[in-house]
C-alpha cells in the first residue's frame, strides 16, 4: 500500500475545498473546546464542593460512642441464650467518652504504613457566656500542627493566627458566626462554662470560617492542653483520633480493622459522607454527557461534508478506480480526510479549551462560604485532554467510515458511461 500517495491525494482534496474543510474542523474544535471547558469547570467545582466537607473529614475516625452496656444481665442468663432479649436494664451511665489507652493506639497508627497522618482531638459541649444568656456551642481541642497539615485548618482562619492557639496559653479560635453573636474581636477575653459548671476565661486569638453557616455559629477551637485543663482531665484524655490514609478507598477496611484492634468505634469517610460521592458522580456524568453530545453533533457535520464531497468527487473516484486504485485505496483516502479534519479540529479544540478554562480561572468568584477561593475553580486534569483527542478521533473516524465505504463501492463504469 502506497500510503504516501494516499495522504498526498487526501491532502489535495482537502485543500481544494479548504473552506468546507475549515467549517467541519471548526465544528470539531467547538465540540472539543466546550468538552474540555465544561469538564474542567464542572470537576473543578465538584472538587471544591467535595473539599468543603471531605478535606476536613478524617478518612477514619476513632471515638467512643455513648451506648448502653452490651452485657445486659438477661444475656448472661443461660436459660435465655436462645431467646431474643429486649430487656435492657443497665444504662449507659458510666461509659467514658475518652479513648482508652490512647497513647498506645496513636503509636500503633503512627507505625501503620497505610496512614498519612493522624490528629488527636477532644470535643466537649460548652456554653459561651454572653451577658445574661448562654450560647450553646462546642469546643474542639486540637493539635494545631497536625490539624493544619492534614485537614487544612489554616485555610479556614479568616482573622488572627492559628499558631497562636499553641503559643498562647488559654487561647481560643471562634467561628465567625459565633464571634458576631458574642460581639468580640481578637484580643478580647470571653467566659466559657463547661457542661459540669466550671467557668473559664479564654483569650480570642482568631476567627475561622468553614463555609457552613450553622457550624460557624457553634464551633470553637483550642489546643489539646487547654481543653484537657478546661475539662479537668489528665493529659492522656483524648476523645477522637482522626486518621488520614494515603489511599482513601481503603478507609472502610481500615475502619473495620481498627474497630477490632483498638476496641473503639471507627467510622470511615465513605459511610459518613456517602451522599457527596453520589452528587459528584452524577454531576460528572452530566458534564460528560453534554460534552460527548457536542462531539457527536460535530461528527454529523463531518459526515455531511464528506458525503457532499463524495458526490462532488464522483469523477475523481471513478478515474482513480479506472486507473488502478482499488476500493480500499479510495476508502482510505476519504478516511484520511475525515480523521485529519478530526485531529486538526481536535488539537485546536484542546488549545482553545485550555485557553477558555484559563480565562474562567481568572474570573473573580467571592463567596462568604468559601474564604480561600477568589476565582472560579478549574480542574486541569490531563485526562480530559486525552479523552477529548481520543473522542474526536473516534467520532470523525465513525463519521468518515460510512461515506468512505460508499465511495469505495462506487462503480466507475456507471459514472464514466453516464457522461
Amino acid at each position: 500500500m502506497n500510503l504516501k500517495l494516499i495522504f498526498n491525494i487526501a491532502k489535495s482534496l482537502l485543500l481544494a475545498r479548504w473552506k468546507q474543510t475549515l467549517v467541519a474542523a471548526i465544528g470539531v474544535t467547538f465540540g472539543i473546546t466546550m468538552f474540555i471547558t465544561l469538564l474542567s469547570f464542572m470537576t473543578g467545582l465538584n472538587d471544591l464542593l467535595d473539599g468543603l466537607i471531605l478535606n476536613r473529614t478524617p478518612h477514619v475516625r476513632l471515638f467512643n460512642d455513648i451506648k448502653p452496656n452490651k452485657n445486659q444481665p438477661v444475656n448472661l442468663d443461660t436459660n435465655f441464650a436462645s431467646s431474643y432479649n429486649f430487656i435492657q436494664s443497665v444504662k449507659s451511665n458510666n461509659s467514658r467518652q475518652e479513648i482508652y489507652n490512647s497513647g498506645a493506639i496513636m503509636q500503633a497508627i503512627e507505625n501503620d504504613d497505610r496512614v498519612l497522618g493522624y490528629a488527636p482531638k477532644i470535643s466537649a459541649p460548652v456554653f459561651f457566656n454572653d451577658g445574661s444568656i448562654d450560647i450553646t456551642g462546642a469546643m474542639n481541642g486540637i493539635d494545631v500542627l497536625a490539624e493544619t497539615k492534614l485537614f487544612f485548618f489554616n485555610d479556614y482562619i479568616v482573622a488572627g493566627n492559628a499558631a497562636d492557639l499553641k503559643n498562647i496559653a488559654n487561647s481560643i479560635v471562634l467561628g465567625v458566626g459565633l464571634a458576631e453573636n458574642l460581639l468580640v474581636s481578637i484580643g478580647d477575653v470571653i467566659q466559657v462554662t463547661t457542661a459540669k459548671g466550671q467557668q473559664f476565661s479564654l483569650k480570642v486569638v482568631g476567627f475561622f470560617q468553614s463555609g457552613l453557616l450553622e457550624y460557624d455559629k457553634t464551633q470553637s477551637y483550642t489546643s489539646i492542653g487547654t481543653a484537657q485543663k478546661f475539662l479537668g482531665k489528665a493529659n492522656y484524655y483524648i476523645t477522637d483520633i482522626q486518621v488520614k490514609l494515603k489511599d482513601v478507598t481503603l478507609a472502610p477496611a481500615v475502619a473495620k480493622e481498627y474497630n477490632l484492634k483498638f476496641q473503639a468505634d471507627a467510622e470511615d469517610i465513605q459511610t459518613a459522607n456517602s451522599q457527596f460521592e453520589t452528587g459528584s458522580a452524577i454531576r460528572n456524568l452530566i458534564a460528560y454527557a453534554v460534552g460527548i453530545t457536542l462531539l457527536i453533533v460535530a461528527g454529523f457535520g463531518i459526515y455531511n461534508i464528506l458525503n457532499m464531497m463524495i458526490y462532488e468527487k464522483m469523477d475523481t473516484i471513478a478515474i482513480l478506480k479506472a486507473t488502478g486504485f482499488s476500493g480500499n485505496d479510495v476508502k482510505l483516502i476519504f478516511l484520511v480526510i475525515a480523521v485529519s479534519i478530526g485531529l486538526f479540529g481536535g488539537t485546536l479544540g484542546l488549545l482553545f479549551g485550555f485557553l477558555l478554562s484559563s480565562v474562567i480561572d481568572q474570573i473573580p468568584f467571592n463567596t462568604a462560604a468559601l474564604p480561600t477561593i477568589t476565582t472560579y475553580p478549574i480542574n486541569y486534569n490531563p485526562m480530559f485532554y486525552f479523552i477529548g483527542v481520543g473522542f474526536s478521533f473516534i467520532t470523525t473516524y465513525m463519521a468518515g467510515f460510512f461515506p468512505s465505504r460508499k465511495a469505495s463501492k462506487i462503480d466507475p463504469v456507471i459514472i464514466i458511461r453516464g457522461k
Binding site: N2, I319, K321, T323, F325, G327, D411, K419
Partner: protein, 225 residues
C-alpha cells in the same frame, strides 16, 4: 506471429432491468500485440459495454476474458485494479483529469500508484510522454486551465505512463472538434506506428475507424465483421 494480448471467449451480457435484454451475445475475438483496432457500430449495439468488460471494470458477464493468456474472469476487485493499473491505459470521451493537481501530477498518478519507480524518475518519464504529445510546456498548469483538446492529450499521456500492454479508448474524440480529433487520431497513429502500441478504440466516427488496421463492426450485441 506476434503475441496475443487479449482474448475474449464467448462473452455474453444481459441487462435485467426492467426486462431481460441480451446486450452482448457470444462474443469471441483476439487482439494481438501492435494491433490498432477500432470497434464501430450504431448506438446501443453494445460496443461500449464490451469495452468496459474488456477493461475489467465491469465484472458482471458470462464467458471468459484473458489478458496475456492469463484468466482475468473471477479475480478479486483488488487484483483487477492492479491489472488495470499495470496493463491497461484508458482514454475516455471525457478527460477525467483531477482539477486539484497539475498536469504533470495527473499524468504521474497511475505510476505513483504502481510504485515501481522513484518519484524523480517518474517525473522524467511523465515529461517524456508529454513531449511526445507536444504538451510539455503545460506540465506545471492546473488541469482546469487547459483547453478541451489539451486535456484529452494529457489524458492520453496519463494512459501511457505505465507502458500499458493496451490502450482502450471509449469515444476518445467524441467531445472534440475536427481539428483536435485530427490531432488525437494522429497521436494514436503515431503510437501504433512508432511504438507498436496496441490500441482498442470504440468509436462511431467512420472516418476515424477507416484509418485503423482492423475494424470490428458490431450490431445487436454480435460481431458482424
Amino acid at each position: 506471429m506476434s503475441e496475443i494480448i487479449l482474448t475474449a471467449k464467448h462473452i455474453s451480457k444481459k441487462f435485467h432491468d426492467p426486462v431481460t435484454v441480451k446486450i452482448l451475445d457470444d462474443i469471441s475475438f483476439n487482439i494481438k500485440q501492435g494491433d490498432f483496432v477500432s470497434v464501430v457500430g450504431k448506438s446501443g449495439c453494445g460496443k461500449s459495454t464490451l469495452l468496459y468488460i474488456l477493461s475489467t471494470m465491469d465484472t458482471d458477464y458470462e464467458g471468459e476474458l484473458l489478458i496475456c493468456n492469463e484468466l482475468v474472469t473471477g479475480k478479486k476487485e483488488k487484483q483487477l485494479a492492479r491489472i488495470r493499473n499495470e496493463k491497461i491505459g484508458f482514454v475516455f470521451q471525457f478527460h477525467y483529469l483531477l482539477n486539484e493537481f497539475t498536469v504533470l501530477k495527473n499524468v504521474m498518478l497511475p505510476a505513483l500508484k504502481l510504485n515501481k519507480l522513484p518519484a524523480e524518475e517518474l517525473e522524467h518519464k511523465a515529461m517524456e510522454r508529454l513531449k511526445i504529445l507536444g504538451i510539455d510546456q503545460l506540465a506545471a498548469k492546473k488541469a482546469n486551465q487547459l483547453s478541451g483538446g489539451e486535456k484529452q492529450r494529457v489524458a492520453i499521456a496519463r494512459a501511457l505512463i505505465n507502458d500499458p500492454l493496451i490502450i482502450m479508448g471509449d469515444e476518445p474524440t467524441g467531445n472534440l472538434d475536427n481539428k483536435n480529433t485530427g490531432i488525437v487520431f494522429d497521436i494514436f497513429k503515431q503510437l501504433s506506428a512508432e511504438f507498436h502500441q496496441t490500441l482498442l478504440i470504440v468509436t462511431h466516427d467512420q472516418s476515424f475507424a477507416a484509418n485503423t488496421n482492423r475494424i470490428i463492426e458490431m450490431e445487436d450485441g454480435r460481431i458482424i465483421k
